[in-house]
Amino acid sequence: MSGAKQQILASLRRSLRRSEPSAETRVELERRLAAPRAHLIPQRAQLPHAEQLELMEAMLKELKATVVRLADEAEVPQAIADYLKNENLPPKLRLAPRDDLRRLPWGGQPLLEVEEGIAEAADATSLTGAFAAIAETGTLMMASGPEAPVTLNFLPENHIVVLRASQVTGTYEEAWQRLRAQLGKDVMPRAVNMITGPSRTGDIEQTILLGAHGPRRLHVLLVDDRPDDQRRD
C-alpha cells in the first residue's frame, strides 16, 4: 500500500508545485506542533471560576440536561436515589469502576442496586465521573480508560455524571492543557468524548427530539470540592 501513499504524496506536491517540505519549513511546522497555541478565545468563557460554574449550570439547563449542586460528595448517593425516584426510574445503577465513586456512602441507600463495569444492554442508568467540563458551551469532557469505559456514556438511557467544581474550566483549550498536563504532550486517551447535553435528533421534519440513540437524560451532580475560603454562600 506504500505505493498508494507515494502516489498521493506525489500528486499533492505536484499540485503544490514543490518537492518535499524544506528543512526550514519542517522546523517551522514542528515548532508550531510542539507549542500548540490557543487562537481567538471568546470572551464568554473568560470568567472567574465561580462564574464559570454558573455558566456551566446555565448552559447545561439550556441543553435540557439537569443539574443539582451538592456541597459535599457524600451527598451523591442520596441525590441519585432521589433523582431515580422522581424520574420513575428503576433503582439500579451501573457504576464506572473508579475509587472516588466506589467509596461513596452507598450503604445509606439500601434500595439502590449498584454494580460496576462496562455498560450492558439492559442497563437503564449509568454513573460516571468526568475529566473536565467546559463552561463555554456546557460541555462535559470524558477521557476513556479503565476507570472510564466509553459504553457508559452512550448505551444506557440515563446518564448521571459526578462533576467536581474544580474540573470546570472555561474553554476547550484549557481542558486540552489539563489533559496534556496529566497524560503528557501529544498523548490522547483512546477516546475523548465531549458531551453537550443529551442525545438528540432533528432528522424528522427538523423537530428536535431527545434520546435518539444515546442517553435521553443527562443529569449532572455538580459537587463543590473547592476549599472553604473559595466557596461563596
Binding site: A4, S15, P42, S199, T201, Q206, L209
Partner: protein
C-alpha cells in the same frame, strides 16, 4: 453512487412539481436559517472566528503532505493502521478486505458522505455483508433505497407521514395497530430497532469531521450518539476520511468546532464530539480491538494549488445549501449526485467532471448568500463562475446560451449602440408595463414568466440611474 447530474433540468422540473417534497422543504427554508442567525448573534466573536478558521485550514492545505505524514506516524504509534486510497475503488477494496479478514457479517455505519461518494454500501451489500445505517436520517433513506438529499440532514426531503409509512412497511415484526403519527414515536421505534444491530455488529464504519496530526486522532461530530455506538461496540472500527480533513493540533480543531455546529444546526456545540485515537488499550474495558483509517484522495490532490483549492476548506456544515434559494426550491436529489447545493455545485464537477455536472454551477442566481454564511469563507459563487468559464471554453454550454452570449457580446462591444438599445427597451417596457407594474408574459422571457411575473422597469436603465446618482453626489460635494 450513479450520477444523474447531467439531467439536472429534468430533475429540477420534477422536484418543483412534487407537492410532498415541496411540503418537506418548507422546514428547511426557515428552521436552519433562524437557528444559525441566533447562534451567530450570541457569539460576538463568530465572524472573527471564521477568519481564523479559514487561516488555519489554508495553512494546513499549504503543508498538507507534511501534516498527513505526521498524522499517519501518530496513528501507527497508537496502534492503528492507515490505508492510503488514491481512488474510491481503492478505498472500497480496503474496507472489503478488512471485513473479509475479520469474517464480518453485520456492519454498522455512522453517517459518512465519503462512503456515499465511493458507493461503499452497494459494494458491501454485493459482497454479502449486512450493512446498517444508524443515523436516523440515513436509516430512513436506507430503508427507502434513496441517496441523502442534504449533507447533514439526509432525510430532510421527507415528511413524517412518509417515514411512518416506511417504518410500517419495514418493521413488520411490530404490532400493526401501534401509533406512529408523532415524531417521538418514530424516533423511539428507530432506537428500539437499531439497538439490537449495534450490539451484533462486527465492524463499525464512520466518517471523520477532522483528523488531528498532533495526536493521530479522528473526530466525529454527531447529535444522536449513533456514531459512538457504531465505533465503540464492534471489534473493528474503520474510519473513512478524505485527505483534507486533517488539521495540525487540538487548538486548531477547537477553533473550527466553534463555527461548525453554529453554522450547521445553529447549536452552540453538537451533542457528541468524539476524539478517537487508536484501538482499545491493554487496560481498557471496552472499545474496538482494531482501528483503521482510510485516507481517500479521489481527485482532491488535483484541486490543491488551483482555482478550486479553497473548496478543500469545506467542513461540510451545510450552511450554504440551507441558505440557497435554488436548493430550497428543488431539494438535494435534483443535483443528481452526493453533494447538493452550492458546495456540491463547486465540488461535484471536480470529482466527477464538468461534462457530467456542468448544470450544477449554472444552477445559481449568484445571490451570494452561500459565501456570506460559509464558516470557512469559501468563495462559492466565484468558483461556480470558474466552472462556467471552463464550460464555455470547452464548448459544453448549450447552443441557445452561446447564441445569447454572442448577441449580448455584439452589443457590449459597441457601447453607444448598447446604450441606445437598452434605453429604448427600458422606455418601451416601462411604458407598456406602467399600468400593471409587471408582465405575466414576455417574448424571449417565457422561461421566467411561466413561473412568475416579470417586473416592469421604471423607464430608465441601470446605467442611466447610476450616472444620475453619481452626478447628484458630485453636486452634493460641491455644495
Amino acid at each position: 453512487m450513479e450520477s444523474t447530474s447531467h439531467a439536472f433540468k429534468d430533475n429540477a422540473r420534477a422536484a418543483l412539481a412534487n407537492q410532498t417534497l415541496q411540503k418537506a422543504m418548507k422546514h428547511v427554508k426557515t428552521g436552519f436559517i433562524d437557528k444559525r442567525a441566533k447562534a451567530r448573534a450570541r457569539l460576538p466573536e463568530f465572524d472573527d472566528l471564521r477568519d481564523v478558521a479559514r487561516d488555519i485550514k489554508n495553512h494546513t492545505l499549504a503543508n498538507l503532505d507534511f501534516y498527513l505524514e505526521r498524522y499517519e506516524e501518530k496513528v501507527i504509534a497508537t496502534g492503528g493502521q492507515v490505508h492510503w486510497a488514491p481512488t474510491g475503488e481503492d478505498a472500497v477494496k480496503t474496507v472489503l478486505d478488512i471485513c473479509r479478514r475479520v469474517d464480518a457479517r453485520v456492519v454498522t455505519k455512522g453517517k459518512s458522505m465519503i462512503s456515499e461518494e465511493i458507493a461503499l454500501n452497494q459494494a458491501m451489500e454485493a459482497a454479502g455483508l449486512d450493512v446498517v445505517e444508524t443515523d436516523l436520517g440515513e436509516y430512513i433513506i436506507q430503508l427507502r433505497k434513496e441517496p441523502p438529499s442534504h449533507i447533514i440532514a439526509p432525510a430532510v426531503h421527507l415528511t413524517k407521514e412518509q417515514v411512518e409509512a416506511d417504518f410500517r412497511h419495514h418493521h413488520r415484526e411490530l404490532p400493526s395497530e401501534r401509533s406512529l403519527s408523532q415524531p417521538e414515536q418514530l424516533v423511539a421505534e428507530a432506537r428500539q430497532m437499531l439497538r439490537r444491530r449495534f450490539l451484533e455488529a462486527d465492524v463499525g464504519i464512520t466518517g471523520a469531521n477532522f483528523l488531528v496530526a498532533e495526536t493521530g486522532t479522528s473526530i466525529i461530530v454527531t447529535n444522536e450518539g449513533n456514531g459512538d455506538l457504531t465505533q465503540t461496540l464492534p471489534r473493528v472500527h474503520i474510519v473513512v476520511a478524505s485527505l483534507e480533513k486533517v488539521v495540525p493540533n487540538l487548538e486548531d480543531v477547537s477553533t473550527i468546532l466553534r463555527v461548525l455546529a453554529r453554522s450547521a444546526t445553529g447549536q452552540e456545540f453538537s451533542s457528541y464530539t468524539t476524539f478517537s485515537t487508536g484501538p482499545r488499550r491493554p487496560e481498557d474495558l471496552d472499545g474496538p480491538e482494531e482501528y483503521h483509517v482510510i485516507l481517500l484522495d479521489n481527485g482532491r490532490s488535483n484541486m490543491l494549488g488551483g482555482e478550486f483549492q479553497d473548496m478543500l476548506r469545506c467542513i461540510r456544515c451545510g450552511a450554504c445549501m440551507n441558505h440557497c434559494p435554488v436548493y430550497h426550491a428543488v431539494g438535494g436529489h435534483a443535483y443528481g449526485w452526493v453533494y447538493p447545493g452550492p458546495m456540491g455545485a463547486v465540488l461535484t464537477p471536480n470529482l466527477i467532471g464538468i461534462d457530467e455536472a456542468g448544470h450544477l454551477p449554472n444552477a445559481s442566481t449568484f445571490c451570494g448568500r452561500c459565501e456570506a454564511v460559509c464558516p470557512m469563507r469559501i468563495p462559492l459563487p466565484k468558483m461556480m463562475r470558474h466552472w462556467r468559464e471552463r464550460e464555455f471554453e470547452r464548448h459544453l454550454s448549450p447552443p441557445s446560451v452561446r447564441a445569447g452570449l454572442a448577441v449580448w457580446a455584439f452589443f457590449a462591444r459597441r457601447p453607444r449602440l448598447y446604450h441606445f438599445v437598452t434605453g429604448l427597451q427600458a422606455r418601451l417596457l416601462g411604458r407598456l408595463g406602467r399600468a400593471a407594474g409587471r408582465f405575466d408574459a414576455l417574448p424571449f422571457a417565457r422561461g421566467w414568466t411561466r413561473h412568475r411575473d416579470f417586473p416592469a422597469p421604471e423607464g430608465r436603465t441601470f446605467q442611466q440611474l447610476w450616472a444620475q446618482r453619481q452626478g447628484g453626489r458630485q453636486n452634493g460635494k460641491r455644495r
